[in-house]
């Protein structure tokens, strides 16, 4: 169990990891998904899968059972498994260090500042390390890019580190080979390259912002003048870059200052999720609408989008519009806010007449305090228009500042990739080095990368996984995870963070830096020295101020802080030239449009092997383990499509089959399909999950595809969601059963700002509904010592799922696989519930975080026959796994249904690479026990003990629950209710604070702050 970890030595890890590396079988066995994903006899494995979620596939017959099992079972039943009740402990070994590292205090975790590159751009992190094992990723509270928040990708990255499916040794044509062999082989080819000045040498990377890496590449190019460096990021920001070039005549990055913005207009943008600055934007945006009392003010968000997005979920006005029509709207708006040139005033169909005028007026009324943003999915012209609008509105320099491009070498990446393909096709490329990219999977369908690459006679792939591309290369070189290697990276505002490793490479992988060193013949250069040298040179050159104390000190400070002082870009004066914006590109195409978006879980697909993300219920759809063609109820009815119908999506001769998912809030005639699925080589977890949208993505229309045709097939495909939604129709009004019930029961409480001001009590229960006084038992006195409670602000929660993944990592939560999720057995302790209100063709969507409410009168407690769930004097509803006998009575009696049960052995007790991943402070649950949110009791206890040791009380904010710590918008606040000055006490004192099902007299400790909307009075409805 997890706690063993304390006694192990870090240097153990690699050895046993290598052992299991040898058995992909064990890896494949770990997680379960639909049969489709299995090669071989589906039926058998299906049967097995049903019984063995982690797929310890037994020798099963068609019935999932054969003679051997039968006998075994007869035995088991005969013995009633009674003997296993004996809990005699096996003799344990205890293994101390030979030489104990200075900084280690056994049993006390250490935190290191580092940064995670995502899409080439960094986010500042603090990573928790238990005895040399990174176990948990947190945002760096002092880092401008996150201010302490993280997103699903950051939280899940620690699982990727320990992923047993990672590439574990260099391989040549798929056969295990040694480093020496590789270096020799590479050397021979480079000799030829040198002779020709490297004409045949090409390097393909993702977007690179790392100064050191760029510097290394540059010096490589200096050695090989003929060589070329190409960048391609499948979910990259070409449009944004091109837009800035159009507007300013040169590449520039925009940095939003949402803390200054009163009115925000989002044109088909999800700026609070997945973009380089998202974490900071979300934090700042939330800050502007955190209401303390009715007199407070709130910003206003207009969201125009074709599919519900995390950002849109907080919109005060959400306009459903086909993405392809957004450009038209942008032009109309542009002229309405007084942008000369490219504007044309007639609004596209589907936009209410008064809408544009109203929004324009609102924007103009807040000159310099408004902000218009657009998404990477929108064409360059729209980006340029947005720059123009912000300038016209006097926002430039205020709510948005322009800086030098983050990219070390900004370029049109799609073109860059095309060039490479052309070159390869022309046979000009002899040596191709691919670093951390997977173009064979994610290159646009009209770019024949595979075919062209075959013509390259020496292909090397550096990557974490043996993916589709690696399989086509001569050499696959294990890449070091960012938690394993030194490096640096730029964050959204230009700030550079040094990436410092938390653990030695588990599989002796190399980072891109080391790869480049090898290319330059410095076979054994360490990334650490490379990065350090670079910054020393920078310091010497005076480009960074090492300060009086010299470089050593500068280096230490940079590592400690997690960023390099003074590297944030200075704002540039840039004048947007509206004239340069090309006139409207063709009339808006009618018919169906298809919008391809990065998956909110797997992003571009590089995370497909991450089971936490695969099982994560995607926002709004709550889909797990699949992507689906999202379509609005109306459009579906029009086309005669039902949920789970498999349709062929046809675009210019290309087609892809995908199951239909009907999603309220989807724009009419607009389909959405997430990228990142349909991987064919992504380990046991990711392989074959969902449909590969890249196969219909073209370089010309990478995001928005118009003129799409749907062909219905007879096939259906079972989609699995964690939340049901039954679309019903009552007197012509289409609505959703669960949501209707939710609003009848006032599970979600919403009001407008005006309502709140006129009636601050609007969220409160009617007096006759609260039965708090009516208990037969005398109330317990919680007034002594600590009294823990939580407040969740629905007004700032964006439903981004970060808390869910954080909980996975903190609490050793098991992944159960598609089949078990389908059985209603997902194990997430915290979930994001989504409810729709109003006509499903244009609904309001509300997210609500649901976790254990820690009721003071907890219905779960008095029904447990063995007292395995009890109450603490501090108001915690405790769950004692080792006492639980698994009657499930507590869950039946939990009105919030937040308890989770290990119906089978879900925790993976076998894969050694997962041992170090586990949080040693939390028990790993076994089969047959109940579990649930504990308010991170392990954190509470550790902090309390620390405080007691120091003879003091725990201060407010000293204990953060995992969900609270990760929340980008600080919507979750936990603390001591007996402390009148604690944040949580103040929040609960607000009049929009309400508890769920108070009428059951459960007295929940988790309460909610009602959602407030701030609509523009000029807009009707």
């Amino acid at each position: 169990m997890a706690k063993h970890m304390k006694d192990l030595k870090p240097q153990d890890a690699p050895t046993d990891l290598v052992q299991i590396a040898a058995q992909p079988g064990s890896a494949r066995a770990r997680f379960w998904r639909s049969v489709e994903e299995w090669e071989g006899d589906g039926a058998v494995e299906k049967a097995a899968a049903k019984e063995f979620p982690r797929g310890r596939v037994p020798n099963t017959g068609p019935g999932g059972l054969n003679r051997r099992d039968l006998l075994k079972i007869m035995g088991a039943s005969a013995g009633l498994a009674g003997l296993t009740a004996c809990t005699k402990l096996p003799p344990e070994r205890i293994v101390p260090y030979v030489r104990q590292p200075e900084e280690f205090v056994p049993g006390i975790p250490l935190f290191y500042a580092t940064a995670m590159p995502f899409g080439g751009v960094g986010r500042g992190l603090l990573v928790e390390s238990h005895m040399g094992r990174p176990t948990k990723v947190e945002g760096n509270p002092d880092h401008s890019s996150s201010l302490g928040g993280t997103d699903v990708f950051g939280q899940a990255s620690v699982l990727t580190l320990y992923d047993p499916d990672r590439s574990q040794t260099p391989s040549h044509f798929g056969k295990v080979a040694s480093w020496e062999q590789f270096i020799e082989d590479l050397g021979n080819h480079l000799v030829d390259e040198r002779s020709t000045g490297g004409k045949g040498l090409r390097i393909l990377t993702g977007t690179i912002t790392s100064p050191t890496l760029a510097d290394q590449i540059q010096s490589l190019l200096n050695e090989f003048p003929g060589a070329r460096w190409h960048q391609y990021e499948p979910c990259g920001r070409d449009a944004a870059r091109e837009g800035s070039r159009l507007a300013f005549g040169q590449y520039a990055s925009s940095v939003y200052r949402l803390d200054k913005a009163e009115v925000v207009l989002s044109l088909d943008s999800d700026f609070m999720f997945g973009e380089p600055g998202s974490l900071r934007y979300a934090r700042d945006f939330a800050g502007r609408r955190r209401m303390t009392d009715p007199s407070g003010s709130s910003n206003r968000l207009y969201a125009v989008e074709s599919t519900p997005s995390v950002t849109g979920s907080l919109a005060d006005h959400r306009l459903q519009l086909r993405s392809s029509a957004v450009e038209g709207l942008a032009r109309a708006l542009a002229s309405a806010v007084g942008v000369g040139g490219g504007g044309s005033s007639e609004p596209p169909t589907g936009v209410p007449a008064d809408w544009i005028a109203a929004v324009a007026n609102d924007l103009k009324a807040h000159r310099g305090a408004s902000l218009v943003v657009t998404g990477d999915r929108q064409p360059a012209a729209v980006h340029a228009l947005v720059h123009a609008m912000n300038q016209a509105l006097g926002n430039a320099g205020q709510t948005v500042v322009y800086t030098a491009p983050l990219e070390a070498n900004p370029t049109d990446e799609t073109k860059s990739l095309k060039d490479l393909v052309t070159a390869m096709d022309a046979g000009q490329v002899r040596t191709l080095i691919l670093m951390g990219v997977n173009p064979i999977y994610n290159a646009p369908a009209d770019v024949p990368f595979l075919a062209a690459m075959q013509k390259v006679d020496f292909r090397v792939h550096l990557g974490l996984f043996i993916d589709e591309t690696a399989a086509q290369c001569h050499w696959q070189i294990p890449e070091a995870h960012y938690l394993e290697a030194w490096g640096d990276v730029r964050c959204y505002d230009g700030t550079v963070s040094i990436i410092q490793p938390l653990i030695a490479p588990l599989y002796g992988g190399r980072s891109a830096l080391e790869m480049l060193a090898i290319l330059r013949g410095q076979t054994y250069a360490s990334a650490h020295d490379v990065v350090r040298d670079y910054w020393q040179r920078e310091a010497v050159a005076g480009r960074v101020t090492a300060g009086g104390a010299g470089f050593e000190n500068f280096w230490e400070t940079s590592l400690n802080n997690g960023w390099v002082e003074g590297t944030a870009f200075a704002p540039k004066q840039a004048a947007a030239n509206a004239g340069a914006i090309p006139a409207s590109s063709a009339a808006i195409a009618e018919g169906l449009e298809l919008v391809l978006l990065p998956s909110p879980s797997l992003w571009d697909g590089s995370l497909a092997s991450n089971a936490w993300l695969q099982e994560l219920p995607q926002p709004f759809t709550k889909l797990t383990w699949d992507n689906a063609l999202l379509i609005s109820p109306g459009t579906a009815a029009q086309l005669g499509l039902k949920r789970e119908d498999v349709v062929k999506v046809q675009v210019e001769g290309r087609e892809i089959s995908a199951p239909v998912f009907i999603l309220p809030g989807q724009a009419t005639n607009s389909l959405t399909l997430h990228l990142g699925y349909g991987r064919t080589l992504a380990g046991a977890v990711g392989t074959g999950v969902g449909a590969n949208a890249y196969s219909i993505r073209t370089s010309l229309a990478p995001w928005i595809i118009t003129g799409v045709r749907l062909a219905k097939t007879n096939a259906t495909y079972h989609l699995v969601t964690t939340q049901n939604n039954h679309l019903i129709e009552q007197n012509g009004q289409r609505s959703e059963e669960e949501s209707d019930a939710a609003f009848d029961r006032r599970v979600v409480r919403v009001g407008t700002l005006d309502e709140y001001r006129s009636n601050p009590e609007f969220a409160q229960d009617p007096p006759d509904m609260t039965t708090e006084a009516q208990s037969l038992y005398p109330p317990y006195d919680y007034s002594q010592g600590y009294s823990w409670g939580m407040s969740i602000d629905l007004n700032t929660c964006i439903g981004c799922n970060a808390c869910v993944v954080a909980c996975y990592a903190e609490n050793n939560i098991a992944v159960v696989g598609k089949d078990e999720v389908d059985n209603g057995r997902d194990m997430q302790w915290i979930r994001v519930d989504t409810y729709f209100r109003g006509d499903l063709e244009n609904p309001e969507a509300y997210n609500e975080i649901m976790l254990c409410q820690h009721c003071e009168n907890a219905p779960c407690e008095y029904v447990c026959p063995v007292g395995a769930t009890v109450h603490s004097p501090e108001g915690l509803n405790l769950m004692v796994y080792n006492r639980c006998v698994g009657t499930r009575y507590c869950s039946n009696n939990c009105p919030y249904k937040v308890r989770r049960f290990n119906f089978k052995l879900y925790s993976d007790w076998e894969t050694p690479s997962f041992y170090p991943l586990r949080n040693p402070d939390v028990t790993v649950r076994s089969r047959g026990v109940m579990e649930k949110c504990t308010y991170c009791v392990q954190r509470i206890m550790e902090t309390k003990i620390k405080a007691e040791r120091e003879d003091r009380v725990v201060e407010d904010g000293e204990i953060l629950t995992a969900c609270q710590q990760t929340c980008p918008t600080e919507a979750i606040v936990f603390g001591n209710l007996n402390d009148p000055n604690s944040k949580v006490t103040k929040l609960k004192a607000q009049r929009r604070d309400y508890g769920l099902l108070r009428d059951l007299n459960t007295r929940p400790r988790t309460t909610y702050l009602a959602r407030l909307k701030n609509p523009n009075p000029e807009i009707k409805g």
């Binding site: 035995g75 009633l80 049901n724 059963e737 057995r825 008095y862 026959p865 039946n892 089969r927």
Partner: protein, 466 residues
């Protein structure tokens, strides 16, 4: 003698009668008839066939439980929100069935009801076997069954005790007490007959076996007087249990906050339902038995008629409860209760609900007609219908209340797996295996009580003559 011939022990002619005992029965004839059923060898083909079938089902139970213990309760269809499925349904159903026996033997004994005489023995046996089946489920449905003993209060090494506020703990006591008392009561009642069998047995080994279990019964006046006192005391002890056990079982639900569970009407409603299904089971067993062993003389029309009436009465109590439950949930004005009731009637499980309404309410109303009550096969069908209905009732109470409770986001469905069905069928196997063995090796009708009855009836005749 040819075994098939054996089955029909064609000694006395078939006489349908309206008395609790056919005329012309003597001490000897009753003793012969009943003891012969046990002592005649070889056993009948049809009995063997029946036993074989029961054993097959028992084998299925073995596999099903084995799989559950090996993999976990996850092999069943249960999930969050529906944490209880077939297992608890079966538990409540079997416990319910287990009620008639003690009611007949104990309650009717105190009431001095003559008609209990010829049915109480196998009714009690049925009770014990049913409770045995029921007892399996609380164990099997646990996530970690090997720790079942944590529900028992004993000084453990952890210094902790069971959580006595939990109805599940009360269940443990209620059920085990009920089983013990019923078992003792049954065995005590058997003693005189075991003595009879010992005396009538031919083979020495048979004599020995019956001799040992007869605990040296000699039938002396002293024995008889002690016997009478003892059985009277046990009857007094058992009668309240009939009411208490299912009341406690109903607490499993009423204690909870769930709409559809949280209701004060449950205890009487469950007890009535239990007797209802219990008598149904008695009929299901009695009718084939009397036909097969030609016991029309002992289990007479009067018995069937009485039992039909009891079913009708308890059935009406159940019906009343249904109506009140529905009425209250609407009258309460409670959103959740209303939704629960609407959902039962119109939701995904509506079919099940209406089937149970038919089985328990509509169907049995034919029992008003005395012709039906006196038609064995009609009764037999009705008894089956009622038992099906009672099973569905428990299913509906458990599943429909759980699958859609308070927070809509957590609503779900329950789909039984093949392991659910196998576990259920399996317990039928256990039940019938035990019952087949019982009717072959023990007197299924209390001989000594029959003798007593003969005595009484003759006495009455004599009295009437004078």
């Amino acid at each position: 003698m040819d075994p098939v011939e054996n089955d029909k022990l064609t000694t006395t002619a078939v006489v349908e009668t309206d008395e609790v005992l056919a005329p012309g029965q003597t001490y000897r004839s009753v003793s012969d008839r009943v003891s012969d059923m046990v002592l005649t060898w070889p056993v009948g083909i049809r009995w063997l066939a029946g036993l074989a079938m029961a054993l097959t089902l028992l084998f299925i139970l073995n596999i099903a439980l084995g799989w559950v213990f090996t993999i976990g309760v996850g092999v069943w269809g249960i999930n969050i929100p529906v944490g209880w499925g077939f297992a608890i349904t079966n538990f409540v159903w079997w416990i319910g069935i287990g009620h008639a026996g003690t009611l007949i033997s104990a309650f009717l004994l105190l009431m001095r009801q003559k008609w209990r005489t010829s049915i109480n023995r196998f009714a009690e046996a049925m009770t014990i076997f049913a409770v045995a089946c029921a007892g399996l489920f609380p164990l099997a449905h646990m996530g970690r069954p090997w720790l079942f003993f944590w529900l028992l209060p004993y000084p453990d090494t952890m210094g902790v005790w069971p959580q006595f506020r939990s109805p599940l703990v009360w269940d443990v006591f209620a059920v085990s007490t009920y089983l013990t008392v019923s078992l003792v009561f049954w065995y005590v009642g058997l003693l005189p007959d075991l003595g009879t069998l010992r005396d009538r047995a031919k083979k020495r080994v048979t004599k020995m076996i019956y001799g040992i279990v007869a605990l040296g019964w000699r039938g002396s006046a002293e024995h008889w007087s002690r016997y009478e006192t003892c059985s009277l005391l046990l009857a007094g002890l058992a009668t309240p249990l009939v009411v208490s056990v299912h009341t406690v079982v109903s607490f499993d639900f009423t204690i909870a906050v769930l709409p559809g569970w949280h209701s004060t009407i449950f205890p009487p409603y469950f007890v009535a339902g239990a007797i209802y299904s219990g008598f149904a089971m008695v009929l299901t067993l009695a009718i084939p038995l009397r036909k097969y062993y030609h016991l029309e003389g002992f289990i007479t029309m009067k018995h069937l008629d009485f039992m039909g009436k009891v079913m009708l009465a308890t059935g009406l109590v159940v019906a009343y409860s249904y109506v009140m439950e529905a009425f209250m949930s609407f009258y309460s004005g409670n959103t959740y209760d209303r939704y629960m009731m609407m959902n039962r009637m119109t939701g995904p499980y509506a079919k099940v609900f209406w089937t149970l309404i038919f089985c328990n309410l509509v169907g049995p109303q034919v029992l008003w007609i005395s012709k039906i009550r006196r038609n064995p096969w009609a009764l037999f069908v009705i008894s089956l219908v009622v038992q099906a209905g009672m099973w569905l009732e428990r299913f509906v109470i458990i599943v429909t209340s759980l699958h859609r409770d308070f927070i809509p986001s957590s609503w779900g469905m329950f789909y039984p797996t093949r392991w659910d069905y196998m576990t259920f069928l399996g317990t039928l196997g256990l039940f019938f295996t035990l019952f087949y063995l019982f009717i072959r090796f023990l007197p299924m009708i209390a001989i000594h009580e029959l003798r007593d009855l003969v005595h009484k009836t003759e006495h009455e005749k004599a009295a009437a003559a004078h």
